[in-house]
């Protein structure tokens, strides 16, 4: 005989997955997260764009070979050092070059002979300074050469040994980590709230439709609760894991440099999600068993929602400084760990011992909560009429059905 909890869980999975809303929301989340990565990749490309510089060579005495021009070689060297892509194109006349500028094929015209630069519309700051510095360098080299210095001497003067730079106590640039941490906290909050409320309304629906009586004539209350939480949790997990996987792919294709902790911390959010979901949805199931009408459901769940909301606010209060003592202490406490610890992990702020303690405490509280809820559930599930108070529910020693 199949375990009744598995039958209950299976029913929940089938009923949830079949709804168009689940597929639409999951698809939307994955697409949005992937789109974020693609957009970031495109924006990132724009930050090191290719510049086209037109060189008018007609007025230059002697060589008209572009590579032989001091200015062009200086510009090419500077661009390479600056990780900027600069393409130089030679033009026989200034009017040809300005025609290309007007047509948008090149960004600037430099007339080496006339010592002019011509722009269309406005001066591009980064390219402008590159052109200016290249010009100074090549002019200085020309002057030095005219003064009788050889190439080695000129190179010594123009490219001195740079200052050796040392940074004491370097600032961590964990912006990406914090952003990913916030994003995962938002996703965790969204998923646990959404699917937790499915557990809540699912329990209330079984009470309002009366189906609970037929169910309980074959299944024990705690089996029913376990099946519901696991079934809806499995569906939630699929959506959550798909979004996290999309986020990993998205970060990879974005080309953004990310802290290495993210590659461990982000997949680990799935574990925090499982713990957080089990903890909160068990409470949601319990809240659902206190009421007989759908209108009362949210009221019964209010204390749980409030606790969860506090955790969410704490993420944004302490999240920007994930190494602080307060953040460290809060991230270990079971009600807040599922939201705070992922953020501390992806930013690299969490020590291994923090993670271990938080995980152990969360697992213990989940086990305790399931046991406690299972025993209360059997006594509250058949309750009818007005909403039970949490205090009364904990005190109940017998069923109030009638």
């Amino acid at each position: 005989m199949t375990d009744p909890s598995l039958l209950v869980a299976r029913r929940e999975v089938i009923q949830r997955v079949r709804r168009p809303s689940f597929l639409v929301i999951t698809g939307l989340l994955v697409v949005l997260v992937l789109a974020g990565g693609v957009i970031a990749a495109v924006v990132d490309d724009d930050s090191s764009p290719s510049h086209d510089v037109g060189i008018v060579t007609s007025g230059e005495p002697g060589s008209t070979d572009l590579e032989d021009l001091g200015f062009v070689s200086a510009l090419t060297n500077l661009a390479a050092a600056d990780d900027t892509d600069v393409v130089t194109t030679g033009f026989a006349s200034r009017s040809d070059a300005e025609g290309a500028l007007a047509a948008g094929r090149i960004d600037v015209v430099v007339d080496v002979g006339a010592r002019t630069e011509t722009w269309q519309g406005s001066i591009d700051d980064s390219l402008g300074s590159l052109v200016d510095i290249a010009w100074q360098a090549s002019a200085s080299a020309d002057a030095a050469r005219a003064a009788g210095l050889n190439d080695a001497q000129i190179s010594d003067i123009l490219s001195p040994e740079p200052l050796a730079a040392t940074v004491i106590d370097p600032d961590d640039d964990d912006t990406v980590g914090v952003l990913v941490g916030f994003a995962s906290a938002i996703l965790l909050f969204f998923s646990i709230t959404t699917f937790g409320s499915y557990v809540l309304t699912g329990v209330v629906e079984e009470k309002t439709t009366g189906v609970i009586e037929v169910l309980l004539s074959h299944v024990r209350a705690h089996q029913l609760m376990a099946g519901k939480v696991v079934g809806i949790g499995a569906v939630a997990l699929v959506q959550f894991a798909a979004t996290v996987a999309a986020a990993l792919v998205s970060l990879r294709i974005s080309g953004i440099e990310v802290p290495t902790e993210i590659w461990v911390g982000l997949p680990a959010t799935i574990g925090w999600f499982i713990g957080g979901f089990l903890l909160y949805s068990t409470l949601f199931a319990l809240a659902g068993s206190f009421v007989s009408r759908m209108e009362d459901a949210q009221g019964a769940a209010a204390p749980i929602t409030a606790a969860f909301m506090i955790g969410y606010i704490l993420v944004f209060t302490f999240g920007s400084d994930p190494t602080s003592t307060v953040a460290r202490v809060l991230s270990v406490l079971p009600p807040f760990a599922p939201l705070l610890m992922p953020l501390r992990m992806v930013t690299g702020a969490a020590a291994v011992v923090d993670v271990a303690v938080a995980a152990v405490l969360l697992v213990l509280s989940v086990v305790g909560m399931i046991r406690l809820a299972g025993s209360i559930y059997a006594r509250t599930l058949l309750h009818r009429g007005s909403r039970l108070r949490w205090r009364d529910a904990l005190r109940r020693t017998e069923s109030l059905t009638g």
Partner: protein, 307 residues
């Protein structure tokens, strides 16, 4: 009834909800392969008793046994239950729902699917198999509800108000179906607050009021033991208004131009009654009967109230 083997026995069961004594030493016995009617007005304790049988209510005292043993979860898988409030998932498909409940009661997948198809056909719901339950008419929902209680081929059916909300044709269909199931060997305990509705399918009844059993036994026996008889007579001519009762224990309960209705003690027979009304004029119609179950109930409740 003594020669019949009792399968379900509720013995001295009491249950108190706060200040309300819902059940006060309720006892009843259901013999194998019979339909027992569990009757009483709303709020008399029928539902609580049935929930106690299904393990949904913990009782304060007394025992409930199946074949002489306290009921276990395993035994309860062999029970079929139809609660008064009904209970189905409105958004679940019809066939899936039947398969689901069959499997919860312990059937394997293939057996559950075959049983679901069998019951869909029997209830005339095969074409609605993939519809959501909420799309069914209330009559079809009721049929599906009954199918859910039967889909795992239970040995005992506990039906709480199975006829409420049904039109007369549907009531007859459901009665016929129950009789068929009983012929298969199922034992049925069904409750109703419409006492006379079930008197033709239930040979035995247990009548409760305010948590106490006030009458039980075979329907015909209960009616026969009633202290009164009803007489309805129609005369072709004569002065009905001038008719006087021959004995103060007789009571005229109704008069029309050609009709008189009497309630007389049960120790008077039909001949005496006929002779009395024939004094008015030629009798063209005459009925002499034991009171209906509901009347017996009302009378017995009155006595309980006085004592």
């Amino acid at each position: 009834m003594g020669r019949l083997h009792t399968v379900l026995r509720v013995d001295g069961v009491s249950k108190r909800f706060g200040a309300t004594q819902a059940l006060d030493e309720v006892s009843l016995a259901v013999p194998s392969g019979r339909i027992v009617g569990f009757l009483g007005p709303n709020g008399s304790g029928k539902t609580t008793t049935m929930r106690a049988i299904m393990g949904l209510v913990a009782t304060d005292q007394g025992s409930i046994t199946w074949h002489g043993e306290p009921i276990t979860d395993e035994m309860r898988h062999r029970f079929g239950y139809m609660p008064a409030e009904r209970g189905m998932y409105p958004k679940m498909r019809v066939r899936e729902q039947l398969v689901y409940f069959s499997r919860l009661a312990g059937s394997g997948r293939v057996d559950a699917e075959n049983a679901a198809d069998h019951w869909l056909a029997r209830m005339g719901l095969t074409e609605r198999a993939d519809d959501e339950v909420q799309a069914l008419s209330s009559g079809n929902q009721q049929r599906l509800q009954l199918a859910i209680s039967l889909v795992h081929e239970p040995d005992l059916l506990v039906l709480d108000e199975p006829f409420s909300g049904l039109d007369p044709v549907a009531v007859e269909t459901m009665k016929a179906l129950l009789v068929e199931e009983v012929e298969r060997g199922v034992t049925v305990l069904l409750s109703s607050h419409q006492l006379d509705l079930v008197s033709d399918v239930c040979r035995d009844v247990v009548i409760v009021n305010r948590g106490r059993v006030v009458l039980d036994g075979a329907v015909d026996g209960i009616r026969r033991r009633a202290p009164t008889r009803h007489v309805v007579a129609t005369v072709a001519s004569g002065d009905v208004a001038a008719f006087g009762v021959p004995d103060p224990s007789w009571e005229v309960v109704g008069r029309a131009e050609h009709e008189v209705r009497l309630r007389i003690p049960s120790d008077c027979d039909a001949e005496e009654a006929f002779a009395a009304v024939a004094a008015i004029g030629p009798v063209v119609e005459f009925a002499f009967s034991a009171p209906a179950l509901s009347e017996v109930f009302i009378e017995s409740v009155g006595e309980v109230g006085r004592s």
